[in-house]
């Protein structure tokens, strides 16, 4: 495909740590994916246009990737309000991808000034006043950071002119229809309500004591593994709910409980159903779950 016919891709940063940029650089097929597009500007990769061209609005774009939280006034690059830049390029883009929780919902940096800082089209779960203008072209990719394959999924769907099915917060359902709990290697311990005794052990579920938000956090971290290898929960770290609109919550390493029961239920599970099941499984003592995993039957 010649560069004339390839969609122009622009990666624009607002208030960010660059984590989404670096996460995407880990994609094993990075340059194959980018070959479907003409990359007009990017935070670290070499591009035909400079930041100055971008600031002077000399560039045009078809696909806009936004990274970082949005602030209407006060975040400038070389004297230019980044918010005006974002709205200029979003105005002409056929697809707007908010890459990461910051760009989507506000994320960590929102907490510095909650009244002024938000996502581009959402402020936590609420629609911003910009939502209406851009909604028909908007794809939300929350995650702190995004998984490289979540972004490549969206880019390749666009390149192949396929319709991306989304939910009410504009997240692609093929990526966010799952919870982080799906595919977790500690699922047996979850089923039998066995909590881990401490950090640093293969055994036990992190949902009951250690703050794991996997059962109610949307994302495919345990289905599409990180760095093609692992995930937080697979290495014994709780899920911190980094794809959720209200991320980050407080006290991330301990579970909020009511009368010993996790305060927040797994996605879509009624409390009564959860309690009934818990009552049943807790009435059994399963020997295999009382000892080290690799010692059973030894």
């Amino acid at each position: 495909m010649s560069s004339q016919t390839r969609p122009k891709l622009l990666w624009l940063q607002s208030i960010t740590c660059n984590g989404n940029t670096h996460s995407f650089l880990n994609h094993p097929d990075l340059f194959l994916i980018l070959s479907h597009f003409e990359l007009v500007h990017h935070p670290v990769l070499e591009t035909a246009y400079t930041m100055e061209d971008l600031l002077q609005k000399k560039v045009s774009c078809d696909v806009l990737i936004l990274e970082g939280s949005f602030q209407e006034e006060g975040f400038l690059k070389d004297g230019v309000e980044v918010s005006s830049l974002i709205q200029y390029y979003a105005g002409q883009a056929k697809h707007i991808i908010t890459a990461g929780t910051c760009a989507t919902f506000g994320g960590i940096f929102k907490q510095k000034d909650p009244a002024a800082i938000s996502g581009f089209c959402f402020d936590l779960e609420e629609r911003t006043m910009r939502y209406k203008t851009y909604a028909s072209r908007l794809i939300s990719l929350p995650g702190c950071p995004i998984h490289p394959k979540w972004l490549s999924y969206v880019l390749l769907m666009i390149a192949n002119k396929r319709q991306i099915e989304i939910d009410t917060l504009h997240r692609p359902v093929e990526l966010y229809g799952y919870t982080v709990h799906t595919g977790c290697t500690r699922n047996e311990y979850f089923e039998w309500k066995i909590d881990t005794k401490n950090f640093g052990l293969k055994e036990g579920c992190l949902f009951y004591e250690q703050g794991c938000q996997g059962p109610y956090t949307r994302g495919s971290c345990n289905k599409i593994l990180w760095n093609d290898t692992s995930s937080k929960t697979r290495v014994g770290t709780p899920c911190f709910g980094c794809t959720e609109p209200n991320y980050p919550q407080e006290s991330l390493f301990s579970t909020k409980t009511n009368m010993g029961i996790p305060a927040k239920m797994p996605l879509g599970i009624p409390r009564r159903a959860y309690l009934t099941l818990t009552g049943v499984v807790k009435s059994f003592k399963i020997k295999r779950f009382t000892e080290r995993l690799l010692d059973y039957d030894k």
Binding site: F31, L45, F75, G200
Partner: protein
């Protein structure tokens, strides 16, 4: 002669910076370095659970997030110790942390070599090649961060280091997979980066044997040497390292003397015209980073280069790429000797400690990174982050210009000066946080 002021936006440096150059008689006399935006991570942490810093602080920086995690966990552990709780990590936990940190440094240095230094140098000396350097950078960085994520779950933004150790409980299968990824990285280093075996490379200790280095690093050294760039970019020739690590012990190096340092003498001060704070040690400016580590550790080839070219651009660039070899070698050894049947974490998940103060220091890619946490009533009351770039990129004080500024002073063009600037591996997001 009239002074000339020129403003330049520098991009693709983990964010952007604005440099205001003052020229006098055709040479740069002064530079003001301005970074854009303060995100307020230290303020965001106030009132949070002390361990939340393990999740929040990596988000200071997308490229050195893991170093922030290690500094944050060390700050809490140091705080526990200051309050009488003994924290004696297992050698397994220590080694795994060292390994994952080494992986992040390798990732960083290789990206800087291929995505900043080589393309910028080719542009500067007008010898642009058709090479896609980024594909080499991302090939190696994605392999080595994969090795990291075997233990840490993911990169960027892992929070697998917790007070008392690490959350992972690896098997031999995991270690084998990491070993093969390190081996693959070494092969890249040998065949693509340097054209010599790692062993031969590591035996190079004199300036006269530098010609043995081929590959992309050899090309970089050749371009620097043949364009008379070996002696430019000298600064104050003072170096400091705060974190004991595989690469260096802590200490400071002035002329030929190495002496001890204590992080309590580090001071931060606000600067006019920029959101970055300046850092000094006993009111003096120091360079941090790979060159500082090489000087304090007395790495033979770094010392010999320094003898010939002082703290020039050439010595600085060499010291950073050289760390890739040292780190690959160390990582290989760490995995070979890793003992798996020790505990991963020696502390309980919940330590009932509500008042403490601790400092965590780590050698990050760009130099010493310091976190200080103050906890009262079980919540963070104050958090302080001092990043390596704050040392290297400060404006300076009354007596002297900042480290990077001093290195740029005397340059004859903006192109020369910005290349010297980029050689410090500038990170805008870390500098202002």
């Amino acid at each position: 002669m009239k002074k000339l002021q020129i403003k330049q936006l520098i991009e693709k440096i983990e964010g952007e910076a604005e440099l205001d150059f003052t020229f006098s008689e055709g040479k740069i006399e002064d530079v003001k370095i301005n970074f854009g935006f303060y995100r307020g991570i230290e303020e965001i942490l106030q009132g949070k659970d002390p361990r939340d810093a393990l999740v929040i602080t990596p988000r200071v920086c997308g490229i050195c997030n893991h170093a922030h995690l290690i500094a944050a966990v060390r700050a809490i552990e140091n705080g526990y110790e200051n309050s009488g709780v003994k924290v004696e990590l297992s050698s397994k936990a220590k080694d795994i942390r060292e390994f994952t940190l080494a992986c992040e440094l390798i990732q960083n240095h290789v990206k800087w070599l291929y995505m900043t230094m080589l393309p910028q140098l080719e542009k500067y000396v007008n010898q642009e090649s058709e090479e896609n350097y980024a594909i080499k950078a991302t090939y190696l960085s994605s392999i080595i961060t994969k090795a990291l994520s075997i233990f840490a779950g993911q990169w960027p933004h892992s929070s697998y280091a917790v007070p008392g150790g690490v959350t992972c409980d690896p098997t031999h299968l995991d270690v084998m997979q990491a070993q093969s990824l390190v081996k693959e990285s070494i092969t890249f280093f040998e065949q693509v980066m340097t054209g010599v075996s790692l062993d031969v490379y590591l035996s190079i200790d004199s300036v006269s044997s530098l010609h043995e280095i081929e590959g992309d690093f050899g090309k970089l050294l050749y371009l620097l040497g043949s364009n008379e760039m070996a002696e430019i970019g000298q600064s104050h020739d003072r170096f400091i390292v705060f974190g004991d690590s595989l690469l260096s012990r802590s200490g400071k190096s002035i002329v030929t003397t190495i002496s001890n340092v204590e992080s309590k003498y580090v001071e931060e001060a606000l600067q006019e015209g920029t959101l970055a704070k300046a850092v000094t040690y006993k009111q003096k400016l120091y360079e941090v980073g790979p060159l500082a580590r090489g000087m304090v550790a007395k790495t033979p080839i770094v010392k010999n280069l320094h003898k010939r070219y002082k703290d020039s651009l050439f010595t600085r660039i060499f010291a950073r790429v050289h760390e890739v070899a040292l780190l690959l070698n160390h990582s290989q050894r760490l995995l070979e000797t890793l003992v798996l049947d020790e505990p991963s974490c020696v502390l309980d998940a919940n330590i009932p400690l509500f008042e403490f103060e601790g400092t965590g220091v780590v050698e990050a890619a760009r130099g010493s990174l310091i976190h200080r946490t103050t906890v009262s009533d079980g919540k963070i009351s104050q958090y302080e982050i001092i990043t390596p770039t704050q040392w290297n990129l400060s404006h300076g004080n009354q007596e002297e210009q900042g480290i990077a500024i001093e290195a740029m002073v005397g340059a004859a063009s903006i192109e020369e000066a910005t290349f010297i600037f980029r050689a410090f591996d500038v990170c805008s997001v870390c500098t202002t946080q």
